[in-house]
């Protein structure tokens, strides 16, 4: 619940107030810290993605037996070969762009990612994936802690959430991450024009510079305003971005387009957060109808990501870009009476980008129910994790962001990490 989040914010704000930098210096810092052009786009599928409908074990008879209505026929999947256990796998038929990227060797699919005693709660599960701390998922986010490790003061545009809320993954002790959903709306308005508008902006900036240590909540709000004033003009440059390929009109694709614009304009952001929802498919998944719920989810995902991928390729930025996809849990193996699936355990992560070593990582579960099947849990109801999601994070931190995963993750998860970077 969010009670704990508020507790955290209260604790986090005090640190925030002492390390916030004066906005005037921030763009210099952005330039200094921008020596690496590498960036990371975290892509969250909100609601608990049904991994078995994204990456289909199309030769497993149990997959068809346990999902009489919602399984995807073998003939329809986009085959990508077999995993190390010899299990042939196929992508959802709607993931044609992902298939294309896989074939070019730049998509890594990492099967059965999760952690012991998986939470089936959306909120606890999301907090666990966000904090990378299954035991106490109330603190800062794993990327927030990465931000905390950067030399201070940190430019407020170092990270950018395209959601209205700052996700816990980006919650940091020292950096207020801006949420910018729409570049055009991210501008200062005033009742009056001309000189008075200039006075108004100067005054609002001056008022927000007050960060009272004895009122952490007011300090937090004012610091949020400061972050806005420090970033307005740079973000405005993104608004004029003309993409090299058309993007679909939906919110997710437009967020991807905005991220591409920020990268091309070089505003200094290293970490982007983007999400797309609707994955809590308790009923009527309909993955076999073109307009079915799950097909629509895959279409939105595929078309937004593939436009972005091609755009960056055209802009020469692909090698500096990593997209890392996750969801808070996978879903139950057996479909429910509503032709949907309830909350399950291990899921699927994907990584893509010009520097990714593509391929299939990990092994598929054996979906045969029964005792003694080590790939399942919860009385064979759910898929058991094989790869700890923290080892994937460790690989990203160590091999992409250049951070120290052991201190950020509170343990050495790098040793057994899949080598997709």
């Amino acid at each position: 619940m969010s009670i704990s989040r508020r507790k955290f914010m209260k604790g986090g704000v005090a640190a925030f107030t002492v390390s916030f930098a004066a906005p005037a210096f921030l763009s210099d810092i952005a330039r200094a810290q921008g020596r690496s052009r590498r960036n990371l786009v975290v892509l969250y599928l909100s609601g608990g993605n049904d991994a078995l409908s994204t990456l289909v074990p199309y030769t497993d008879a149990q997959y068809y037996a346990r999902r009489p209505f919602i399984s995807i026929p073998a003939a329809n999947v986009l085959q990508i070969g077999s995993d190390a256990s010899g299990r042939p796998l196929g992508l959802n038929p709607r993931l044609t762009g992902f298939h294309n990227i896989f074939n070019s060797g730049r998509l890594a699919v990492i099967q059965r990612t999760g952690y012991p005693n998986s939470s089936r709660s959306h909120f606890e599960g999301t907090d666990i994936w966000s904090t990378a701390d299954p035991r106490s998922p109330q603190g800062t986010g794993w990327l927030g802690r990465y931000l905390d490790q950067l030399p201070t003061p940190v430019d407020p545009l170092t990270a950018w959430s395209t959601q209205r809320e700052t996700p816990r993954t980006l919650m940091s002790r020292t950096v207020g991450v801006p949420s910018i959903t729409n570049v055009a709306g991210y501008a200062f308005a005033s009742p009056n024009g001309g000189a008075d508008a200039t006075y108004a902006r100067e005054t609002a900036t001056r008022i927000s510079s007050h960060v009272p240590v004895d009122q952490p909540h007011l300090a937090f709000v004012n610091a949020t305003s400061q972050a806005a004033f420090a970033t307005l003009d740079r973000v405005a440059q993104v608004g004029t971005y003309v993409s090299t390929v058309p993007y679909p009109a939906n919110g997710f694709a437009q967020a991807m387009r905005m991220i591409a614009g920020a990268m091309v304009r070089g505003v200094g952001t290293k970490i982007f957060w983007v999400q797309t929802g609707g994955y809590d498919t308790h009923s009527a998944q309909n993955p076999n109808q073109a307009a079915g719920a799950y097909s629509t989810l895959m279409a939105t995902l595929n078309d937004g990501v593939f436009a972005f991928y091609q755009d960056l390729q055209n802009q020469g930025l692909l090698n500096d870009t990593l997209i890392l996809q996750f969801s808070e849990f996978g879903r139950r193996i057996t479909e429910n009476g509503s032709q949907g699936t309830d909350h399950g355990a291990a899921g699927l992560m994907m990584a893509l980008g010009g520097s990714v070593k593509g391929g299939i990582y990990g092994t598929a579960a054996n979906l045969q129910a029964g005792t003694g099947n080590p790939t399942l849990e919860n009385n064979s109801g759910d898929v058991r994790h094989e790869t700890d999601f923290r080892s994937v994070y460790a690989r990203v931190i160590d091999s992409w962001l250049g951070g120290d995963s052991t201190s950020i993750l509170g343990g050495n998860f790098g040793a057994g990490a899949p080598q997709f970077l």
């Binding site: 959306h122 207020g176 200062f188 909540h217 429910n336 009476g337």
Partner: protein
Amino acid sequence: MELMTPAQDRPPQRTPRERGTRRGEQSVEHLLRRAGFGASQEEVDFYLELGFSGSVRRLVDYEDAPDDVDSLIGTPGYVAVTAVGGFAPATTIAHARQRWLFRMVHSQRPLQEKMTLFWHNHFATAYTKIAGAFNAAEGSRYMAAKPSEDPNGVKGQIEVFRDFALGNFRDLLVAMAKDVAMLVWLDGRTNVRNRPQENFARELMELFTMGVGTFEESDVYAAARVFTGWNLARPGNAYYTFSYVANQHDTTAKEFTFPIYADGGRTIAARSADAGMQDGLDLINAVARHPATGPRLALKLYRYFVSEVDSPDERLINDLSRLYYENNFEMKPVIRHLLLSSQFTAPAARYARYSWPVEFVTRAIKEVGWAGFSVNDTLTPLANMGQQLFEPPDVNGWDLGAGWFSSGAMVARMNFAATLATNQRFNLRERLRGQARTPEALVTLINDRLTPSPFTSDQHRALVDYAGAGLTFTGSDAQLVTKASGLAHLVVGSGAYQIV
């Protein structure tokens, strides 16, 4: 500037009154920001007459206040609504949003609306899924229709919350288990014997009552089976309504890891299909009575009404929780105790909450003014601030407190302040004409009207500098149009105004 009316022709200059100098004014304003949506000057005057405890009584025992707010929509003197082709909240969600905002601004039962909002967030249900399952008009109907305006007497979910605003929580849980929008939202409508559906069962325990960590996966399975057959019917193909479908109910016994009955029994015994609906009522009684539910509700109410900054006094949480159980889950004694508690009335509790976007918007309308303004013009700004009524992000509700304040949302708040101040600039001039001879006096008048948390002297200086910037201040009409609206924008858009 030389063409101004000579000073002697104006009404006698009033000395700007210091904020909240009338006895009890600050505590009544605090009460109305928390138990309501802020207050216009007329409302402050009205409640000030009643005194603090009289005001609490008026707010809590709201049955004694008129319930005529809907009849005022579209009449002069109130904030406007915008509806092309007729105002139809029962079938058009944008109109339903406007009606609710209108109620927040003008209801004489503000606490009823405030608790309705609380329950909307607690049982967070989103219009989009209902509209997707049926269609847009049906979505609005099951979220917001009043029985009096629906051909089949359908009562939308929000009207259920209004009925139960300070009512019995256990009964509200039962009403939600049968609510059409909820049955669609958490898929109860498809929860049947052979393939139980866990969605409602899980959230009933995790979010609506006991909280995460108080139950096991086996409880989720058992609870899903308890609610098998709690589905929908569609009489005469005219409307959806709750229906217990006996032959879809799982009649076998259900075992739980926590007590279901007062004697400690953890098993709901096998029942015949016809009697099987009692399973769900037994479980709802159990989760309402569960020892984690009272404290969890108490803490949530504390955060909503008292403070998001200070930790609650354990004694207060215990008292609220005890009242909840002692009064058989009635909320009215709990809220009355909360509003009269010393923690609520303490000066430290003032400005100790982050305003929700709808609180921010409605308070600004009440304090800046509304003549010629339409609540329709709040809908897009509210979405940009992160709160669309009838559209919480997920079943956990909105991310409250500091979660409201991303930089993008803050820009949206500042820009709404600009929109409202621009719209009200002539009204502000009329109200302030002749009262401000100096920039200092104008800032004092604006702050008195808008009740932000106190500015520091530096911030106050910044506002005064703004009021005098680019002109020689005379208080002329032209200057007031510019500077009163400019100041209203800056104050409403300031950090100090965002906390309530």
